[in-house]
């Protein structure tokens, strides 16, 4: 057969292959509108992570993976092992709680238990409450937007403008904040949301200098007496925002705010795996929620929970709207059920746990995952 005679067959073969590629999502997950993890790969001290407790995981725009641990900052090298940076390298404290990247400059801003650290071009710069205007050395959360750095500290929230060197403090003295113990902060294009431990959520408009408080209307610590009436609890343990949706973690349930109304979830009445929600990473309007019993993933309608079974096995439970839950056993489990930090993109998911790091390998799905984004 002459080579040119092959072309129709090649075309057909290519078309079949393409069709197969598009249809590679396992049938079991076809109606799940976000990627499903098929297995976990776990990493720990054997890979150079200096301690079992990993607080934060973050992938920078250059593709490098960074960890905030109980004992230093780590970066994953090309050989897969982790390199540690500690106070001896210039880090402000060994206990790293959060990492974010300034997408413009590539600078990493690192929240630690004693100050804020900038890692830029391999050089550490430390900001403390004594050498700068940082409100407090215990920095739980940090975020960067348009070059401005926002921090949540044990004595209020703060902002730092590197262009002018100006620091501002936001606490109970100059805002509606009930108390200054801030656990999380998220800067959006026009608002800044501050998660206050015991004070709900503060919405700050930097242009107008205004503050608005979101508190649990029923003011009950243990029960969400009236669902969907506001933040589920005043104990905000974490919050995040993406694409117009605000997500709130508390130790008494989970909540979402889309600007029109609130939606709340508790473990007793919804698929939420645990009321003790520690961290949320939103990605394409899907919340990846870290908690003491594993991970819940939801777009608000469909849920997938990942747990560690009694024998250490990985359990995956699918909750489709109007259908009974479907429990599946996974080939591998999360490194630990207590998930402290999460990073998710279209390619993979990473979980910082109290006993190592896990990578969630997605089952094949059509990328980019635009389904979830299209949902209201």
């Amino acid at each position: 057969m002459k080579p040119r005679d092959l072309s129709p067959w090649l075309t057909v073969a290519l078309a079949v292959t393409t069709l197969q590629a598009a249809e590679t999502t396992p049938a079991a997950f076809k109606d799940i509108p976000f990627p499903v993890i098929e297995r976990f790969e776990n990493f720990g001290k054997a890979e150079g992570i200096p301690t079992e407790k990993v607080h934060a995981v973050y992938k920078t725009t250059d593709g490098r993976l960074w960890l905030g641990t109980w004992n230093g900052l780590c970066v994953r090298r090309e050989d897969g092992r982790f390199h540690r940076y500690g106070p001896e390298d210039g880090l402000s404290h060994k206990m790293v709680l959060q990492i974010v990247e300034d997408p413009q400059t590539g600078d990493l801003w690192i929240a630690t238990m004693r100050g804020l650290t900038r890692l830029s071009g391999g050089r550490f710069t430390v900001y403390t409450q004594t050498n700068s205007g940082l409100p407090n050395n215990v920095v739980y959360g940090v975020d960067v937007r348009e070059g401005r750095v926002w921090v949540a500290t044990a004595a209020g929230a703060g902002s730092f403008n590197p262009k002018t060197g100006e620091w501002k403090i936001y606490d109970h003295n100059n805002t509606v904040m009930h108390e200054p113990w801030c656990y999380a902060i998220k800067a959006t294009p026009d608002k800044v949301f501050i998660g206050v431990w015991g004070g709900g959520i503060i919405e700050h408009d930097p242009r107008r200098g205004t503050f608005k408080e979101y508190r649990d209307p029923d003011r009950d610590f243990h029960y969400d007496l009236v669902p969907d009436d506001g933040p589920i609890n005043d104990i905000t343990s974490w919050l995040s925002w993406e694409d117009g949706v605000l997500w709130q973690c508390t130790y008494f349930g989970f909540a979402r705010y889309e600007g029109r109304g609130w939606k709340t979830w508790v473990e007793e009445k919804t698929p939420l795996l645990s009321n003790f929600t520690q961290f949320v990473w939103p990605h394409r309007r899907v919340a990846w929620i870290g908690m003491d019993r594993g991970v819940s993933v939801t777009d608000g309608e469909t849920w997938v929970n990942y747990e560690v079974g009694p024998k250490g096995e990985g359990l995956r439970t699918l909750y489709r709207p109007g259908q009974p839950p479907e429990v599946q056993t996974m080939p591998t489990a999360l490194a630990n059920c207590f998930v402290l930090g999460i990073y998710v993109d279209d390619e993979e998911a990473w979980f910082a746990t109290s006993n190592g790091l896990s990578r969630g390998v997605f089952a094949p799905y059509p990328r980019p995952a635009t389904v979830a984004r299209a949902r209201p």
């Binding site: 106070p87 001896e88 390298d89 210039g90 402000s92 413009q104 400059t105 590539g106 600078d107 004693r114 100050g115 830029s120 071009g121 391999g122 050089r123 550490f124 430390v126 403390t128 409450q129 004594t130 050498n131 700068s132 205007g133 409100p135 407090n136 050395n137 070059g147 004595a155 590197p162 262009k163 002018t164 060197g165 100006e166 620091w167 501002k168 403090i169 606490d171 003295n173 100059n174």
Partner: protein, 673 residues
């Protein structure tokens, strides 16, 4: 009778006058002691606190302006030369061959740095005093676009990246680099750099940009945990400082690498050598941690060249000779083939010609240890320095013609641009922009200030420690009490008119004494500056306005709410609960406006373990935010640390009642002074 009466009246008058004088004297002494809390203070002039007016200071008065050349740029076809004249707010276009001036255009704001686009149709100007970049259309020679950037932009470079055209601007005052896109000018990113970035270089492929800082800062990472800023103490004072070479991606402004240059500072230019993959920066190797009086041993400072590769490996090599120094290296130019580099020595009036082939050969054969020690071996320069070309006073900026056959030198303090034939290494022409200002004592004083010939073997000039009359951010070791003791922070010379005495111990009543014979013998190890030149130098120093820490667009505007709250704190006479603050502990007493000093020595509890006294001269606060570090030994690296890490039990202002909000407010106010 009349005579007797007259005598009696006179005597009575004398007694009364004496009584009044004595009373006045004792009252004034008591008044001063009451206000300062210092019971040993004698009579001081009322002008320490009263009758001062900033408008009467020398730096506030009009002064002659000179067409001193700053940045240079040569058109891609080599036919036109552009010269920035920052002191007269002009940019000049000249014929590069004949050096005849063709056109002039006014560019407000101190045009200092220049960069041309690749086609040679647009000229970009860093306007230092107005914190902006101006774009000139070279057809009309008119300004067509402008953008405010950071504080005091001094240098800029143009490049084409896959994402579009970019300008990289070094903002010396705000310590950052503005990455601008063009058409129209727009800021893409503002990454931080080292302190006082002054040099910019880009790679022709648009993939790399570098910014070089002029000042060095303690390299804390090298000091380890003991030098951590959160720990109170002095350990960081004994860490070698390092300037920073910041490696950027010009497309988006991403910081790729920060390369420390140990014990290097005063770099004012930068060049990329594509043929070798090198980044070159002139530098001053400063040795502030060994006794600065050891000039004869060559311990104080020497000039060199940093050679960095794309991976950030740096070798520092000397430009000086064993018994002859070439102080204050400023401008740098490298030919397109990467064969030769030219370095302007602003203090010694010389262009040093470096054969890069020979330098490369030496680097090739040197092992790591030899490279590390290279900067200390002044005999090494004979390996690669092939010529020294004498120039007029204070050569600063350099530019080469595209074919590398002509080197243009801005001979700043003679108001001239010189053209050098690089084949014959001779001067072949001069562009005369002004008369040199010989009749202006301030200009003459600046020549003294920048002249290394007043120090032993021409090792350094006044400017080597006081770039632009300001600080270099270092504390120097004076060996009065042993090596490593008695570190003294380098104080600014800007805004010092009417603020005597000088020195941290307040012992020099005038600048003439401060810069006089003792200074020459102890520090410069030469004959004193001749009296006439000394007077000129003093005129120059007094003409220096305070540093400007604020953005140009913020000047003359009302204080921000935070700064206003800080102002009220600065002038507070009572605590919020009504408790009076003792007069001698109020900020305004010692730092009394408008000079923000009462020009007296004061004990504010800052005596360190190596100090011999409790009392130190009260520095003025004009431009204080730009003059870190602080206190007499430079122990406080930020203003915050004055009242946190190094707070002195309410002796240095009553601060114990301040909240963190108030401290931040106070600092916002101090930034406005």
């Amino acid at each position: 009778m009349k005579t007797r009466g007259f005598v009696l009246i006179s005597l009575a008058g004398l007694v009364a006058a004496g009584g009044l004088s004595s009373g006045g004297y004792f009252w004034s002494v008591g008044h001063v002691r009451r206000w300062t809390g210092n019971p040993t203070l004698g009579f001081v002039s009322c002008t320490h606190c009263h009758g001062n007016d900033l408008s009467k200071t020398a730096w506030a008065r009009p002064r002659p302006h000179h067409p001193a050349p700053a940045g240079l740029a040569v058109s891609p076809d080599g036919r036109r030369l552009y010269v920035a004249l920052d002191d007269v707010d002009e940019v000049v276009e000249a014929d590069a061959e004949s050096l005849a001036i063709l056109r002039r255009t006014a560019v407000a704001g101190g045009p200092f740095g220049l960069a041309l686009d690749r086609s040679g149709r647009r000229l970009f100007v860093a306007c230092r005093h107005q914190d902006r970049v101006a774009q000139l259309d070279l057809e009309t020679f008119r300004e067509v676009d402008s953008l405010f950037v950071g504080v005091e932009p001094v240098a800029l470079a143009f490049t084409e990246t896959p994402e579009g055209e970019r300008l990289i601007v070094a903002n010396s005052g705000s310590g950052d680099a503005a990455v601008l896109s063009l058409s129209p000018l727009k800021e893409v990113a503002r990454p931080g750099t080292g302190r006082e970035p002054f040099g910019v270089a880009v790679s022709p492929d648009g993939r790399h940009a570098w910014v070089m800082s002029r000042l060095a800062e303690p390299d804390l990472a090298r000091g380890g945990a003991s030098a951590h800023p959160a720990e109170a103490g002095f350990a960081h004072l004994f860490l070698p400082a390092a300037a920073e070479l910041t490696h950027l991606s010009p497309a988006g402004g991403r910081v790729l690498r920060r390369v420390p240059l140990e014990s290097a500072h005063l770099s004012e230019d930068l060049a990329f050598v594509p043929a070798r993959g090198w980044v070159l920066a002139p530098l001053v190797k400063v040795r502030n941690l060994v006794p600065i009086t050891q000039v004869a041993n060559g311990w104080v400072m020497s000039s060199g060249l940093a050679v960095a590769d794309l991976q950030g490996h740096v070798t520092q090599v000397p430009l000086d000779e064993a018994n002859d120094y070439f102080a204050d290296p400023a401008g740098l130019a490298v030919d397109a083939a990467g064969r030769r580099a030219y370095v302007a020595s602003g203090g010694s009036d010389v262009i040093t010609v470096v054969d890069l082939d020979r330098l490369a050969a030496w680097l090739e054969q040197a092992d790591d240890a030899t490279r590390r020690e290279a900067i200390r071996d002044l005999s090494l320069s004979t390996e690669y320095v092939v010529a020294r070309i004498p120039t007029g006073r204070n050569p600063r900026h350099l530019a080469l013609s595209p074919d590398g056959r002509r080197l243009y030198v801005s001979v700043r303090l003679e108001d001239q641009v010189w053209a050098v034939d690089t084949e014959r290494l001779t001067v072949v022409g001069k562009l005369v922009l002004g008369d040199g200002g010989d009749s202006d004592p301030i200009r003459r004083g600046e020549r003294v200030f920048t002249k290394a010939a007043h120090t032993f073997q021409r090792q350094f000039s006044c400017r080597s420690c006081h770039p632009d009359g300001h600080v270099d951010g270092l504390a120097y070791d004076f060996d009065g009490d042993g090596i490593g003791d008695n570190l003294l922070d380098n104080r600014t010379l800007r805004g010092i008119d009417r603020t005597p005495p000088f020195k941290w111990n307040g012992k020099n009543p005038s600048l003439q004494v401060q810069c006089g014979p003792r200074f020459a013998r102890v520090l410069m190890r030469t004959d004193p500056i001749p009296p006439a030149e000394l007077e000129d130098l003093v005129r120059f120093l007094n003409s220096l306005p305070p540093a400007r820490p604020r953005h140009f667009t913020e000047l003359n505007k009302p204080l921000s709410p935070a700064a206003e709250r800080g102002r009220q704190l600065f002038f507070a006479t009572h605590r919020p609960d009504g408790t009076p603050i003792p007069i001698e502990r109020q900020c305004q007493t010692c730092h009394r406006p408008p000079l923000f000093t009462n020009r007296l020595k004061t004990a504010v509890g800052t005596r360190g373990p190596r100090d011999l006294t409790d009392e130190f001269d009260t520095p003025h606060l004009l431009g204080v935010a730009a003059s870190a570090p602080y206190l007499h030994d430079g122990r406080a690296r930020t203003l915050e640390e004055l009242w946190t890490t190094y707070q002195t039990n309410d002796l240095h202002g009553v601060s114990s009642y301040w909240s963190k909000h108030q401290l931040n407010d106070l600092i916002e106010y101090l930034k406005t002074l």
